[in-house]
């Protein structure tokens, strides 16, 4: 819990610092805010790892098969990173690029979930006479 206050302080400090860098040098400000986002997420990685391990443990006890859990984790990772990239593009003022990045993320998600969808359709086909 103690790391969280430090994390908040760093985030606020970085926000103010980003404003000063942006006023001093416009392009540098965008690079700096991107770097702030990455650094803050890296700070979170360790806690996120603990949460992911706990969820993995719970899933192993429950009836969720190993493949589906891996799929869920993949979906989580893809959405997290594509959301990060899309927001970075928006901060730099490039709304169009952000939408393309999000579309790319969605396409990856659809590709990933295709096998599950096929299983579901087969199941439905078997159920209906």
């Amino acid at each position: 819990m103690d790391g969280f206050w430090r994390f908040l302080g760093i985030a606020l400090g970085a926000a103010v610092l980003a404003m000063t860098v942006r006023s001093a040098h416009r392009e540098m400000g965008a690079a700096f805010s991107l770097c702030c986002g990455a650094a803050l997420m890296l700070l979170l990685m360790e806690r996120l790892g603990q949460a992911a391990a706990a969820i993995d443990e719970m899933a192993r006890l429950s009836a969720v098969s190993e493949g589906h859990m891996a799929l869920i984790f993949k979906v989580l990772g893809i959405t997290m990173l594509s959301e990060f990239a899309a927001q970075a593009c928006r901060d730099a003022g490039e709304e169009g690029i952000a939408l393309r990045v999000e579309m790319g993320g969605k396409v990856m998600l659809v590709l990933l979930s295709l096998p599950v969808l096929q299983q579901i359709t087969q199941l439905i086909m078997e159920l209906t006479p």
Binding site: I10, A14, L17, T20, V21, A24, H25, E27, M28, G29, A31, F32, L34, C35, C36, A38, A39, M41, L42, L43, M45, L48, G49, A52, A70, F73, K74, L76, G77, I78, M80, L81, F84
Partner: protein
């Protein structure tokens, strides 16, 4: 660990802006733009290494190969 790189980038940004101002005052606009571009290149190198580390972390944690 990551905070040093953050402050480094902020320092480079402000420094490049100040040097640019000095150079423009001294009447060397071309040098000022060059220093601006050089500073931006250095900062982008730092940012790229940080982003690469983040992506590696997420990939290894969520099993994204």
């Amino acid at each position: 660990m990551q905070i040093q790189e953050l402050l480094q980038i902020a320092g480079i940004g402000v420094l490049v802006a100040v040097i640019g101002q000095i150079l423009t005052r001294a009447g060397r606009e071309d040098m000022a733009t060059l220093t601006g571009i050089a500073g931006l290149a250095i900062v982008l190198m730092l940012v790229v290494t940080l982003i690469a580390e983040l992506f590696e972390n997420v990939k290894s944690m969520f099993g994204l190969y």
